[in-house]
């Protein structure tokens, strides 16, 4: 293998072409920067496409609403652990970014007066928790699909450069600890390259696939988190994972909260609407962690349905065929295909399923990655940004409010784009690449290329997923977690597997300090 890789130069490189990556790339491309977006799948295959329910913004199209109430719901939903400055920024900006999406052509559902329709959603309330409010802007139950396609289309218009089916390998940090680009592999040819950039943005999404049962796409393997960890930077809040209350039992496919927003209810084996007991005010529309825990409790106490008493039922036939066909068409499709149940006639079997990673790469509201340095816990890592689920601006705290994930992508994708544009990168020169820019990737590729024996990837991954599932479930406590951590490390053979990576990380860490 060649000593170093060929080099391409850009003002900005974005890793990941989901909602956040493409919202950021749009700002950059429209500002005339040379920007490359690399993605291991074609952009419209990104996991944003699977988001169903909606995007939250206090437009007040249905009844009075206020960004303050949205902010309150978000903070309360986060178990009071979210960063309130960031949440304030997000909720204040929400209306503008949603209107922007509408102007981009996103086919939102409408009210009779032509304004955007908004639906009720779990945890959305008026007047600081007093009563439910309709705040979720939606495109039937395909909001993420419409959003992702609209952003791709707008990027086509802006002539963004996409590097499709390219796999990012490692961040490149120079002697000052600044990030000056990434190494990446063109998957079709197996050719590795250096993408030299003045700004590197990670938009690699979540890691839901490290669990055995997940609502996430197969691609959600947390690649960006690995890149950051290998570069010697810390991650934040990694124990905070959201279980979505309604994944199809056995299949894990997501059934949006909008089902309950439109009036669907949860029943246990006795036919009881048990959420009335756990959350008398919001009932089935309580926040996700509350509903998930309640469901788990019901199942644990023997009131689950089915031969193994291991799921509960989501009933929506009382909404009538019209509402189901107009507002929840994909849910019906999923339910028929994956649960053998037509929700117009019968309830859908559901279980809490891993859904969203609240933690990730720590950033500020400009998307700049921060890490502790010289006593400053929020010291910026120059050249590196992160947006979307892989980032932790900490607007979600310990539990994300439904519809805030799409909002997070768009608000912070755009904010990061704007910040980078304001930095006037066009005029600035590239910071030189370090001499060993490609070394870590080269060594790792060589090790894989030259390996003649080893274990099966799928077997190792399966063990790891089972451990995560067993130790980081709906109820997580000190004992389970502290037992699961080392076990997961053992499953992944972290001790022996990545000697070269570890050595490299140590060197880098030393330099960065």
């Amino acid at each position: 293998m060649a000593k170093s890789f060929p080099v391409m130069h850009f003002d900005a490189v974005i890793v990941g072409a989901g909602g956040a990556g493409m919202r950021a790339s749009l700002q950059l491309a429209e500002a005339g920067l040379s920007v490359a977006v690399l993605s291991k799948v074609f952009p419209t295959r990104s996991h944003t496409v699977a988001a169903q329910g909606g995007i939250g913004a206090s437009l007040g199209n249905m009844s009075e609403d206020s960004w303050l109430w949205h902010m309150y719901d978000t903070i309360k939903g986060s178990d009071w652990l979210g960063d309130q400055d960031a949440i304030e920024y997000m909720c204040k900006t929400a209306a503008d970014v949603v209107y922007e999406l509408e102007h981009f052509g996103m086919p939102f559902d409408r009210n009779d007066d032509g304004t955007l329709y908004q639906r009720p959603f779990g945890g959305h309330s008026a007047n600081f928790g007093q009563k439910p409010v309709q705040r979720a802007c939606a495109v039937a139950d395909r909001t993420g699909h419409a959003l992702l396609h609209t952003l791709y289309q707008r990027n086509v218009r802006a002539r963004t450069q996409f590097l499709v089916e390219w796999m990012a390998l490692d961040l490149i940090r120079d002697a000052d600890g600044d990030v000056v680009g990434v190494t990446a592999l063109e998957m079709e040819t197996g050719e590795a390259m250096i993408l030299h950039a003045k700004a590197t943005i990670l938009a690699t999404g979540g890691a839901g696939r490290i669990f055995a049962a997940s609502t996430n796409a197969f691609i959600n393997t947390g690649d960006g988190l690995g890149m950051v960890a290998r570069a010697g930077l810390p991650l934040e809040d990694m124990e905070m994972w959201q279980f979505h209350p309604t994944g199809v039992a056995g299949a894990g496919i997501l059934i949006t909260e909008a089902v309950r927003g439109e009036g669907g209810i949860l029943l246990n084996a006795n036919g009881e609407r048990f959420m009335e007991r756990y959350a008398p005010n919001l009932k089935d529309l309580a926040s996700r962690d509350v509903v998930s825990r309640s469901m788990d409790q019901e199942i644990k106490e023997g009131r689950g349905c089915g031969p193994h008493k291991d799921y509960v039922l989501l009933k929506l036939d009382h909404l009538g065929p019209d509402v189901i066909i107009k507002r929840l068409p994909s849910i019906r499709e999923i339910s028929i295909k994956f649960a053998n149940a037509d929700p117009i006639k019968e309830p859908i079997p559901v279980v809490p399923t891993i859904h969203y990673m609240m933690g990730g790469i720590p950033t500020n509201v400009h998307g700049q990655v921060v890490a502790p340095k010289d006593g400053d816990p929020n010291s910026v890592v120059p050249g590196l940004f992160a947006v979307g689920e892989c980032a932790c601006v900490s607007v979600h705290g310990a539990n994300r409010l439904g519809t805030n994930s799409l909002l997070d992508l768009i608000v912070f994708g755009r904010a990061t784009g704007n910040f980078i544009v304001s930095e006037n990168l066009k005029a600035a020169p590239h910071k030189p690449l370090p001499g060993d820019a490609a070394e870590a990737s080269r060594a790792r590729l060589a090790r894989i290329d030259n390996a003649t024996s080893g274990e099966s990837v799928s077997a190792v991954a399966d063990t790891l997923r089972k451990t995560l599932q067993a130790h980081c479930g709906v109820f997580r406590n000190q004992g389970l977690l502290s037992e699961g951590g080392p076990r997961a490390a053992r499953d992944a053979h972290l001790d022996q597997r990545s000697q070269q990576d570890v050595q490299h990380r140590a060197r880098r860490g030393a330099r960065a300090r």
């Binding site: 074609f42 002539r159 963004t160 996409f162 590097l163 499709v164 089916e165 390219w166 063109e186 079709e188």
Partner: protein, 119 residues
């Protein structure tokens, strides 16, 4: 796989006329078919006198001529469509199309000769 947006709009700015004319000619031919079928049924079969009589009638001659012209135009668009799908080299395709045009013009001449030529 690398995909980059291409923006060339490469329309020829024609196409709808051929598409429509193929439909219009189809209707003309269908009506004529119905007419001939009706005449044959009306006369309970075909013998020479009926046949000859038909072709002595100017209205029928005109209808037949219309049918033939519709047929030739319809055939032209249809055969060109086939050539566009299966004959890839441009030179060959143009050659095929030229031959077809010549044939159809000759057929049109023949039609006129049959209908109004020396009887």
């Amino acid at each position: 796989m690398v995909t980059n947006p291409s923006h060339e709009a490469v329309s020829a700015h024609y196409g709808w006329r051929d598409w429509l004319s193929q439909r219009v000619t189809a209707v003309v031919m269908a009506l004529y078919t119905l007419l001939v079928f009706g005449v044959v049924v009306w006369h309970g079969g075909l013998d020479y006198s009926v046949w000859k009589g038909l072709f002595a009638n100017n209205a029928f001659k005109l209808a037949t001529f219309l049918f033939m012209i519709a047929l030739f135009f319809h055939a032209w668009v249809g055969v060109r469509n086939i050539a566009m799908d299966y004959v890839k080299p441009t030179g060959w395709r143009l050659a095929v199309q030229m031959v077809v045009i010549c044939m159809l013009i000759a057929y049109a001449g023949w039609t006129i000769q049959i209908l109004w030529g020396a009887v």
